[in-house]
């Protein structure tokens, strides 16, 4: 961190608790098996849903016969997709036409578009009865050609959605600087025909779960659900179900991970609500199985990068990049086409390149719809840039560390404005590289690797530099669709003294393991000068707490900024009310008051008289003992604050503007050896250096880094949502998908740097998504191991099998995955 950065960051005030590894509050219940996950709710009279799902990727529903299922024992109701379509409006499409014309209903209506798409819902007294009855449903399909490749989809040979008439969802040109000029002046031009970022999912361990109750007496809908962006879900559900948004009540408590995958479970919420209404308002519960989750919840975006050309000067500095990117969003856009702009938050990655021309398009295919999976849309692009820098470095014979140093944005240039108007708040990528090289023992490895190679071993070292842009500006949606009614970013929180003076915090966020209760308590404890144990933070999300905004949720690496700023603002508001109230109660001057903890708990003390009043006394005065309170002492001790990130709507024509508030950075280094006999890549050393600005809770941040690293390593080497040509998902269970386990997750050496953000009150940056640094890093290390064999790493997923194929078919297989070096 440079001296300038130190001074740029605003002083966070007196921090006693912020910055400490305070033990997590959540543990008290989670360790005892007393967490409250949605499947743990027991509601009187609950009915259970089993979905009948399509075995086909693309087919017309010729007929559907559910009579036998309807008459089966214990069955309350059976809803087909066509019946549901009569009860709802199709979900909103965020994008403009042609994608905007896609009709997305909660279940398939007359066609199925991906394997696992629900066609009917069987609702019964028990899940066993529902499962038994679902087997009696008869659906006749007329199969249609499945299209599983986005580039092929764009030829419109087989169109998924007749209402839009094309598989193209959205396309746009992103051009900045003088690309042609840079190419004409280039000392080197390097071309890469095809790169491919594969489909995977962070697969939270808890599957999707919905309980819905549609109470006909007052037309209120209650959801208990693990959706991780409910403020968004209810904006989709309200028009679809034809109820006011205030009639939708949403509650979550503990959530067993989401990583963005649970954001798009709202179609299932709609079905459960309709089923409940059809059953006289009984609660209806759906607990997704893992196989359902793998086939029909959400996957991450798959992306193909075509015809990439890179201009470099004589020193290996990249001066221009042009490329065509084709994103595959699966059968329905849902949260898309936002991914068509989100990547532009990190347009140049960590690099100074000024001239870029990227044609971006997105297609629907006969695969599971995508959802904004951890690292959403940026990781695909960052992986692309990392492959570019890595391949260029190898081509020009410039060592990996040096190649990056020549291209990194410098810390002295921060805050740095990217060619498309994003402002990188702070950071020092070169310093991170130094830390990471020290931790891994870069120089020692260089000689060890040279020696190993002399023995014929395939071993390589690779660097991945990546960004985790956080607190997004929803205004970027208007670049996709000028009529999109979204911009800015906000989060709400409430801090109050309850009737007995307890400090109670509610937040609009939807934690799934990120420890929000703990970090929020740290912030409040610092504001009021109390112990975090004295701060109660309500678990989970609840619309009826009335704190949320339309942006509320847990996504896009932002809690440390949006959530904690909201908590901080609400706590400060409460403090100012307490101060006025105490000044009245103690007959003191506000300037003489001191906040702290006395023998009777949290209190406010008059330093002049030595008198004090504790929080019970203060709350009592307002809530139950308020005769005689002066009418102009307008305090409620119930303070809501909404934090709004300082954004403008971007320039839609130029696709220019600040798209995210903070830029955390990750720099990873891996050493990988490919076994000469089995071709299994093995990680011999791994370092992760993180910079997320000022750290609120180091242990929590470390945990997020380890978790994101595991997801990335898993994705790079094991996890793959691959489909065959007929659109069958080849990894539809955990046993096929093999999420990374303790057997193959290496130890990580962790390092960190703090470049405080000048844009957040506390200097913190959102983190947690982690930019999929391991995917870039593992690919770079594999590339280093394989370069001399003539192989180019062109796919983000690499296994023993693909390495073996690349090496044994060298010179033959140029199109797919690992390709031969031209």
């Amino acid at each position: 961190m440079t001296e300038e950065q130190k001074t740029v960051a605003k002083s966070p005030g007196s921090n006693r608790w912020v910055g400490q590894s305070v033990a997590r509050k959540e543990e008290a219940r989670l360790l005892r098996g007393q967490g409250k996950f949605v499947d743990d709710y027991r509601l009187q009279g609950t009915l259970h849903v089993k979905f009948v799902r399509s075995a086909y990727a693309h087919a017309r529903i010729a007929s559907i016969d559910v009579e036998q299922a309807r008459n089966a024992p214990g069955v309350a109701v059976v809803l087909t997709g066509a019946e549901v379509a009569k009860l709802v409006q199709p979900f909103i499409e965020i994008g403009p036409d042609p994608g905007g014309k896609i009709l997305d209903y909660p279940m398939a209506v007359d066609k199925v578009h991906f394997q696992g798409e629900p066609v009917a819902a069987v609702v019964a007294e028990s899940i066993e009865a529902a499962e038994d009855a679902a087997e009696l449903a008869r659906v006749d399909y007329e199969s249609l050609p499945a299209v599983v490749d986005a580039e092929e989809a764009l030829t419109d040979g087989s169109v998924l959605h007749p209402s839009s008439g094309t598989n193209l969802v959205w396309q746009g040109e992103f051009e900045y600087g003088d690309v042609d000029g840079a190419f004409s002046k280039a000392a080197h031009v390097i071309e890469i025909d095809r790169l491919h970022f594969h489909r995977f999912s962070s697969t939270p361990l808890e599957n999707n779960v919905v309980i819905a109750q549609w109470d006909a007496s007052d037309n209120q809908i209650y959801f208990w659900c693990n959706n991780s962006f409910p403020a968004f879900a209810i904006q989709f559900l309200s028009p679809a179900l034809g109820v006011g948004i205030d009639q939708i009540h949403f509650q979550s408590h503990d959530i067993g991970g989401s990583f963005g995958i649970k954001i798009t479970n709202y179609p299932y919420m709609a079905v459960c609500a309709l089923a409940s209404r059809a059953c006289g308002g009984r609660p209806v519960k759906w607990v997704e199985t893992r196989t359902e989750h793998m086939t029909a919840s959400a996957h991450g975006n798959e992306r193909t990068f075509r015809d990439t050309r890179v201009a470099l000067d004589g020193d290996g500095v990249i001066t221009a990049i042009e490329s065509r990117h084709i994103d595959d969003c699966g059968a329905y856009p849902r949260y898309e086409p936002l991914g068509c702009i989100i990547w532009a938050q990190v347009l140049p990655g960590a690099y100074r390149v000024q001239n870029m021309r990227i044609h971006f398009s997105q297609a629907v295919t006969n695969k599971c719809p995508v959802g904004p999976n951890r690292g959403y849309s940026r990781m695909q692009h960052l992986w692309f840039l990392e492959r570019v820098i890595d391949i260029c470095g190898h081509r020009l014979g410039i060592p990996a560390d040096e190649m990056r140093l020549r291209n990194y944005i410098k810390s002295s240039e921060m805050p740095y404005t990217t060619p498309n108007g994003c402002v990188y708040d702070s950071g020092d990528y070169a310093a991170m590289q130094r830390i990471a090289k020290d931790l891994i023992g870069w120089d020692e490895w260089q000689s060890k690797i040279a020696e190993a190679r002399r023995q014929g071993r395939l071993i390589g070292i690779g660097i991945g530099t990546t960004l985790d842009s956080g607190t997004n500006n929803f205004g970027q949606s208007q670049i996709i669709n000028p009529r999109a009614p979204y911009s800015g970013q906000s989060e709400g929180a409430n801090v109050k003294l309850d009737i007995y003076g307890e400090i109670v915090v509610s937040i609009g966020s939807v934690p799934q393991g990120q420890g929000h209760e703990t970090t929020a308590a740290q912030v409040v404890a610092d504001v009021l000068n109390v112990h975090p144990d004295m701060v109660k933070v309500r678990p989970g999300f609840d619309t009826d707490r009335n704190v949320h905004t339309g942006h509320s949720g847990t996504y896009a690496s932002q809690f440390a900024v949006t959530g904690l700023s909201a908590v901080h603002g609400a706590a400060a508001k409460l403090k100012s009310e307490l101060s006025r109230l105490a000044s009245f109660a103690l007959g003191a001057n506000e300037d003489d008051l001191e906040f702290g903890v006395g023998t009777q708990g949290p209190e406010v003390k008059d330093n002049k008289s030595g008198k004090s009043i504790n929080y019970w006394g203060l709350a009592n005065l307002v809530n139950v003992n308020n005769a005689g309170l002066p009418p102009d002492l307008d305090v409620t001790l119930n303070c809501r604050y909404v934090y709004r990130a300082p954004f403008k709507v971007p320039d839609i024509q130029r696709k220019y503007g600040n798209l995210t508030l903070t830029y955390a950075a990750q720099l990873h280094i891996a050493v990988i050896e490919i076994d000469r006999e089995t071709y299994i890549p093995k990680i011999l050393g791994y370092v992760a250096v993180d910079d997320c600005g000022r750290v609120v809770n180091p242990a929590i941040v470390r945990g997020q880094v380890f978790g994101a690293t595991a997801h990335g390593i898993g994705a790079a080497l094991y996890e793959d949502c691959r489909y065959d040509e007929a659109g069958n998902l080849l990894a539809s269970t955990f046993s096929d998908y093999i999420p990374i386990t303790a057997l193959n997750m290496p130890r990580i050496r962790y390092g960190h740097l703090e470049s405080p953000s000048p844009f957040s009150y506390n200097g913190a940056k959102g983190m947690g998504e982690g930019g999929a640094a391991p995917v870039h890093t593992v690919c770079a290390a594999l590339q280093d191991a394989l370069w001399s064999s003539g192989v180019i790493v062109k796919d983000s997923h690499n296994t023993a099998d693909s390495v073996f194929r690349a090496l044994s078919t060298l010179g033959l297989d140029r199109g797919q995955g690992l390709g031969a070096r031209d």
């Binding site: 098996g33 393991g513 945990g703 997020q704 046993s735 999420p739 386990t741």
Partner: protein
């Protein structure tokens, strides 16, 4: 349509309490624990016996309760995560998980705690390799496992100390001893 299975009467001791129940023969142990006994600390994360979220001790050995029929537990002794803390005091394994930040969402945690009980009852001084093998069947999607390795190594020391001192934790781990 599958045949409805006949009712069976079983008696199982769970966390030291005896339960008598009439159940369907096809009922899984995990559903018996979660639905019949309302002990919801035991979780379900998959349908192919892969994830270990459902791990409990059956007669001292860890089992994936999604892969065991409740009738197989008849006459036996089951320990679930709810049976670890005594009089409100965390078991040393739980305490070690807490101190090492070995959980995030906590969905996998009950299963991991039970697998750790099984391990430490048989191997009081596990190496990291032993630890990894012992939890190979417990999937955690949040933590990247590293803090879990550390927590279990630390738990081993704590359980040994508790056993030596005859305090809480030494005994509960002993109850997981193979029979």
């Amino acid at each position: 349509m599958p045949e409805r299975s006949d009712g069976v009467s079983i008696s199982v001791t769970v966390n030291g309490r005896r339960h008598q129940a009439e159940i369907e023969a096809r009922l899984l142990l995990v559903d018996f624990i979660r639905e019949n006994l309302n002990l919801t600390g035991t979780h379900i994360g998959c349908d192919t016996s892969f994830c270990g979220a459902c791990t409990v001790l059956l007669n001292g050995s860890s089992v994936k309760s999604c892969t065991v029929l409740a009738v197989h537990a008849a006459g036996g002794e089951v320990t679930t995560v709810e049976g670890l803390a005594k009089d409100g005091e965390l078991h040393p394994i739980q305490q070690a998980f807490k101190d090492h930040y070995a959980l995030q969402c906590g969905y996998c945690t009950p299963g991991l705690l039970m697998s750790t009980c099984h391990l430490l009852a048989r191997n009081p001084n596990p190496t990291e390799k032993d630890i990894r093998k012992a939890i190979a069947g417990n999937c955690c999607r949040c933590t990247g496992y590293q803090n879990i390795y550390d927590a279990i190594a630390d738990a081993a020391a704590r359980v040994s100390a508790a056993r030596a001192a005859g305090t809480h934790g030494g005994r509960a781990a002993a109850s997981a001893e193979a029979r």
